[in-house]
Symmetry: C2
Subunit: 638 residues, 2 copies
Amino acid sequence: MTDTRLTALRTLLDGRWAPVRDEVREQMGRFRPVEAGLSTEEYRARVLDLMGELAATKRPHAGFAPEYGGEGDIGGTVVSFQTLGYGDLSLLVKAGVQWGLFGGAVQVLGTSRHHDEYLRAIMDGELLGCFAMTETGHGSDVQNLRTTATYDPATREFVVDTPEPGARKDYIGNAARDGKMAVVFAQLVTGGDTRGADARSAGASHGVHAFLVPIRDDAGNAMPGITISDCGEKGGLNGVDNGRLVFDHVRVPREALLNRFADVAEDGTYSSSIENENRRFFTMLGTLVRGRISVAGGAGSAAQKALALAIRYGATRRQFADPTTGEEVALLDYRAHQRKLLPALATTYALHLAQEDLVAEMHRIQAPGAVVTDEKAQRDLEYRAAGLKAVATWHATATIQACREACGGAGYLAENLLPQLKADSDVFTTFEGDNTVLLQLLAKGLLSEYGRRVAALGPLGTARFASGVAVEAFAEKTGLTKRRLRAVDPRSPQAQARLIHDRAEHLLASLARRLRPASRTGTDQFDIVNDAQDHLLHASRAHVDTVVYDAIATAVDTVSDAPTRELLAQVRDLHALSVIEADRAWFLEHGRLTVAESRAVSAAVNDLCASLRPHARLLVDAFAIPESWLDCPMLRTP
Amino acid sequence: MTDTRLTALRTLLDGRWAPVRDEVREQMGRFRPVEAGLSTEEYRARVLDLMGELAATKRPHAGFAPEYGGEGDIGGTVVSFQTLGYGDLSLLVKAGVQWGLFGGAVQVLGTSRHHDEYLRAIMDGELLGCFAMTETGHGSDVQNLRTTATYDPATREFVVDTPEPGARKDYIGNAARDGKMAVVFAQLVTGGDTRGADARSAGASHGVHAFLVPIRDDAGNAMPGITISDCGEKGGLNGVDNGRLVFDHVRVPREALLNRFADVAEDGTYSSSIENENRRFFTMLGTLVRGRISVAGGAGSAAQKALALAIRYGATRRQFADPTTGEEVALLDYRAHQRKLLPALATTYALHLAQEDLVAEMHRIQAPGAVVTDEKAQRDLEYRAAGLKAVATWHATATIQACREACGGAGYLAENLLPQLKADSDVFTTFEGDNTVLLQLLAKGLLSEYGRRVAALGPLGTARFASGVAVEAFAEKTGLTKRRLRAVDPRSPQAQARLIHDRAEHLLASLARRLRPASRTGTDQFDIVNDAQDHLLHASRAHVDTVVYDAIATAVDTVSDAPTRELLAQVRDLHALSVIEADRAWFLEHGRLTVAESRAVSAAVNDLCASLRPHARLLVDAFAIPESWLDCPMLRTP
């Protein structure tokens, strides 16, 4: 008899795109898992084959526009990507490069001339491509890429060039072996020198734009003027062929510019629907938010798989006898073992639900025919994606590490899947945006929004607000905050929400105050911001905590089956209280928890670990990871 | 002109065994680094070659007894192992298996008949061997291994047998490919059934003993009755051939028993110089403490190398422009980047110095002719080794991960060394004793010692002591502790020492109080201890923090050069304050820090990061890692 809670939890977790998830699960179950011990070249070939199998399912088509045979199902595409994360992560990433980054850029940055020519071949996996943005010297600061694309009106061509070693395109997926074409991001220059070493000195630079550049001919040889090299072995994802591209005055036709937001006329006249260069750049980047959201989702699946493996192992592997009974005790019955895995499991649930909300919001804004066109909604989505990607990928890295260790020597053997999961997902923390940089991006967004809120108060309101903040700061220093008077029951969702939200607000308000001097001219802006960098990152993380908490707290209320709701409420409690516990110094320092309450939080985390332990297996089973992708010797050996 | 501080720091870090370190550095500089992209079999072959080169240096001989051509330099052997940790970690581990575990067991558990026959061949690397302790079903709880060695007086042989699948020897280094012999740990049974499936049922079991068992003939084939299999690819260390051994009633002569502590007469009479089976087992295990100390040292070297790579990269790689100057800023000038690397660097210094103390103490106790023979010193050494191994290996894992991320995409490429460092060192947290289990072992030791101290007070003293503890507990609950009256200056070593020691003592005392009910019969011991498990682990970690802090604090006082002392004092401060910062919730909860003081600790960590930043390169250069082992493209590219 199936536990009804299993069905109810699975329904909740699968959410709106449940049919997509089921379809991908079924397809993946048919893919033969990648063999162990392949050489890098064999592994790459194997993943390329899988790309073909994946294309044949037509699943990757769904995200593209209906005019070209797609379904315009933006949300479903991200969810299907996420579900692929239960399997081989090289396939996940190579599929992401092909259909998400390369295909996505052609779709959202290009116009019908590009769509007509390339979209079908891209969808079918016949035209494999690269997303050539990152350079050796510029990864996070993509606005300052050094590659140039200089328009030559004489031949109506762009000349793509790598002017210095640091401008080499680096870490580019699909480049080392399989890619035939690349979307190359370069500074668009008009009126510049198309032959010299420094195109930008003579001409006018219009900022970074994207160009379609063929990089290999049909025989697989590099196109003239392009030097392709191989990044070689990596820490993981060795089924993906990352490479480097160097351009020596490579000519492409004027039409190679992906011209949705800007164009160059035959005579070299530059035009754009977005006047401001900065805004134009961020509008272009903004359309690519899907990649970041997909990585957050992939990280979630990797963490879920690691937890499923470690919890199953911990429930069967026994070590040391109970002194009273003489029976050996299952690892998962030890509190220390529970502490390693169960709070991480609770947070994995909360992140999954927050991810589902994020995907739905993205779908609302980006799906064809979407009614939302305001910039603010788009910007908020980008900030939320940045924050969630950072927190979800760090969580995955830490969780998979904990799961590896929780399985001891068995967890270190490739046959038991955890080492590759760890190695493959490790780069998630620094690709598609370095996590630290993403949290800074989020902080910037939160600060602008905060500035607008304060400004909206008007002069009198601002003064009142400022004095209120000052009084609170004084009260905190003296330990006399009003909040202390409200006793905190750690198991009350109201108290959890208050603590988590209040911390985020306070960190943001105090950050805004601290950074105010940096807006004055003549100050050393860099030092002021740099000295507050840990405060800034803390504020961002605290904000993400509110988003994640709200997702699980809301989900609990939607569950109608009482036993399931009760179980999920405990998961919510464990997530919330382990978040609070990890930062309880802050709550103590700011008078939000008394010493007794702080200790009660730690005690409650321990109690929740004990009470969720019997349900741990059920909770990981609800992820519904195909059994064939969890099968490994450590779960078979008695 | 060399900075005099560089020389002074290097002298301090190299310590007593500086000549050994220099010799190994020089030898390693001559070894050709292992090529990238080798298959597992090629890599294993390459490491085997390096084993030969290493044996030819005669360095591994030094740790063995002078009678057999060694130098009895126990400390120097561990230090030389540690220095090997700057190079290929597969070589480190394979050398550790051969000369540390296998050779070490023959030396310390065997007697002259074993020494005469095998030691020279082991030292020369002609006889490669395994240390077959861990079983699939029992790793941490080695006292309950299931492999049996049953004496058959009729033939004067032991019959070694694997009675159940879980008793298979697993993860055994040197077993899959190269080992000819194994030290096999098995339950010694006399009077048992030498042919049946359960030898122990009929006979008398005397606990776990070690036996020398040939596992391969000269042609490399498994010996009759032994099934050898390969653990296959691992998360790292793929130059080491880990394998599995299954014994089907394998007969070895009576002399195969490593009989230093116990023997079986021809007629089957068992005798031992240590009557108590439990004590006998732990005495045998205790002689093997060197492996654990070596792993702690190897982890330290891996962390140092990762920091050297990441700090060099962070000092040259620039990203985003300073808004005032327009110049791009070096990664290491960002506070967030400093926060990732510099506290870890400070703790790496402190751990290195604590490791040096530990090695010196081991040498004092174990070197031939050592005058220290008391059991307490040996036991204390084991506890200290357990604690330091756990803390040092977790520190290495976290630090290498942070270094990898701090180098972004470059840090994920194999050519830049960090991924392999991460993958290879990852298992250090769970082999040679699982870290969580080791911290429990330490806690057990600390509790016994604490019990003895309390008992030594006598009845009146105990009562006074108990009431003092009660008063303190009351004062803490009400927030009125006397300690709060002493203001804490975070930069004062006295204050640092007081905070770090006081926390360890308090955690231990309260743990002892909490566990007292478990000593009464009829209670549920398991639940009482299990409920306190996080408290117990916290107490152990806090104790290790005292040992590590004391090591660096003492070292600062020994430095005579004033600028060096000043620099090292800042390193000490950063280590101490980041330890306190990480656990400042505890200090707040227990009235050891006021809110203002707690915030001052965080502020001081930030200030120290800024003031140590200009010296970061100097601090990693003082590790004197051979340049050829740090050379990688990311440090060459402009």
